[in-house]
Amino acid sequence: EPEVTQTPSHQVTQMGQEVILRCVPISNHLYFYWYRQILGQKVEFLVSFYNNEISEKSEIFDDQFSVERPDGSNFTLKIRSTKLEDSAMYFCASNGLGYNEQFFGPGTRLTVL
């Protein structure tokens, strides 16, 4: 069964450093998303991406964040200068045309020290 994959599973970084979180969505899906979950809180929407551009972004998704689909398979989230409060689980999700059900990856745990 196709699945969304994410790498790395755990990333530890120093405050102020850049990180890139990687995702491989399900191959025939067209819509891509990033969400995050701070420990003990709800899953929060960050950004949606379709047709090689951002469709919508939340207030959390400020200028420090960017997304890219550099090739036909990868979907990346970059945080340019990490802050302590960026520590969270980051989930990538995707869905196909005409479907509302999004399929999530296993997540990347980002720890900013």
């Binding site: 969304v4 994410q6 819509y31 998303y33 969400y35 809180q41 709800k42 899953v43 929060e44 929407f45 949606s48 379709y50 469709s55 919508e56 939340s58 989930f91 999700a93 869905n95 509302n100 059900e101 999004q102 399929f103 999530f104 990856g105 296993p106 997540g107 745990r109």
Partner: protein, 113 residues
């Protein structure tokens, strides 16, 4: 801005009995609702969904009920099994938006053998 609320942080039921998880929403634009199940250190797994044109959707042991006038939905699991123990998230989306899901805070279900 809690557009989707799950007011019960936890629920404990006996194996074989019914589990009922509840969710309320405030945004009238929401027209599609989903339930996700999440184990620790894993991504949310899609469970079942319902469109606002329906009031019930059933899939095996799982049934979702939607009461639009009350802006309330519930997930019934019958019979409950120990393997159902997880965090359950209610999520909502509107066709008019970019597909972003708005999640509730989650309910931790424990099914005791």
């Amino acid at each position: 801005d809690q557009q989707v609320k799950q007011n019960s942080p936890s629920l404990s039921v006996q194996e074989g009995r019914i589990s009922i998880l509840n969710c309320d929403y405030t945004n009238s634009m929401f027209d599609y609702f989903l339930w996700y199940k999440k184990y620790p250190a894993e991504g949310p797994t899609f469970l079942i969904s319902i469109s606002s044109i329906k009031d019930k959707n059933e899939d095996g042991r799982f049934t979702v009920f939607l009461n639009k006038s009350a802006k309330h939905l519930s997930l019934h699991i019958v019979p409950s099994q120990p393997g159902d123990s997880a965090v359950y998230f209610c999520a909502a989306t509107a066709s008019s938006n970019t597909g972003k899901l708005i999640f509730g805070q989650g309910t931790t279900l424990q099914v005791k053998p």
